[in-house]
Symmetry: C2
């Protein structure tokens, strides 16, 4: 029997650890979206959270183009995706192109932290969306050249990701078996000993 959206969410939530922000543990990259639209105020709130991210020289290099389902921008973003993503992401009520300016405003030099800071802002956005009960999927899988031309984005910006945002749908609506399987398998991450070190190659021995 196919799993429901609630069952999938339960499966995807990271193991609870006291004191960790619940939205950090609840956030996961879903592929099924319900038809429910995202209200303007809910949408504004996820950007407001991203707005307060840290950035080198407080440059705030991040920019977002928002495409609501049914608009030309939404369609252009769908058209930019690789076919594997196109299949499910077209149903998302909101698609967001995340990009960033590549040069500092204060002196015109190249900003080597443009993508780093964009990653920080979009992470904040997705955690805030989870806090509001929404679901997101950040995608690297799109044709950057196609998206740049379709939206007319000048060369002085670097493209990052396309983020699908909405409310979770039942996974059985996903047509392809492979996608259903991804949607209903547990999340996994490397153990902490492979990411936290006391010297560059020596595990710090931290654990919870």
């Amino acid at each position: 029997m196919a799993l429901s959206a609630a069952e999938v969410n339960n499966l995807k939530t990271a193991p609870g650890v006291d004191g960790i922000i619940p939205a950090v543990l609840n956030r996961w990259s879903s592929r099924s979206f319900s038809s429910r639209e995202v209200s303007t105020v809910d949408l504004a709130r996820v950007f407001e959270a991203a707005r307060w991210s840290a950035s080198a020289y407080n440059e705030q290099p991040w920019r977002f183009v928002v495409g609501l389902r049914g608009t030309e921008i939404h369609q252009k973003l769908v058209d930019s995706l690789i076919s594997f993503n196109k299949g499910w992401a077209a149903a998302a009520p909101v698609l967001i192109l995340a990009f960033a300016s590549t040069h500092f405003t204060h002196n015109g030099t190249e900003n080597p932290y443009a993508l780093y800071d964009l990653g920080a802002a979009t992470a904040t956005l997705t955690i805030q969306a989870a806090e509001e009960g929404m679901t997101t999927h950040t995608m690297a899988g799109f044709d950057q050249k196609f998206a740049r031309e379709a939206l007319g984005i000048p060369a002085e910006y670097v493209l990052g990701t396309i983020i699908a945002l909405g409310y979770q749908g039942d996974p059985e609506a996903l047509k392809e078996e492979q996608i259903y399987s991804l949607e209903t398998s547990p999340r996994n991450r490397k153990p902490m000993k492979e990411m936290v070190f006391s010297a560059w190659d020596k595990a710090a021995g931290l654990s919870l």
Copy 2:
């Protein structure tokens, strides 16, 4: 009269918006640290939050070297900082070097999202730290070549930032007038109309 740590925190908190994760609004990049140490479990928790970040192909390219005050690694990280940062960051009980592998494990090709995903993981780390009542400051201002050599990090990793982590101290302990002024001035960000667009150069008209 000099401001207290509590007064500074109040000043630095972003304007409250109902429904936004408090730690997102409370997080800011402080320069004053109290002598209070960070416990191992509190430290593990911020990395646990980062561990659940999203990444391209779930590569999890992020790596962290942790230097506790009084250790050789902490000193090497202090020595890597530009002099402006060295002055205040040496007092932080924890310094963390955030770096990332530049190639995908699954096929050995270059990962263009290494820095983006590292930014996402460190943003999650800093928000979790704020949730726990800690304060952080993510710095781009350090000598990458010096840090790489001091820690012996191979070329297949890209360096990102050094993060100071601890508990807030009273700003009057900051010696230089310029730093005290930064510590006690309000945070500012661009308005939403300069970051959220309905076409690449047309403000989306979102607001809260």
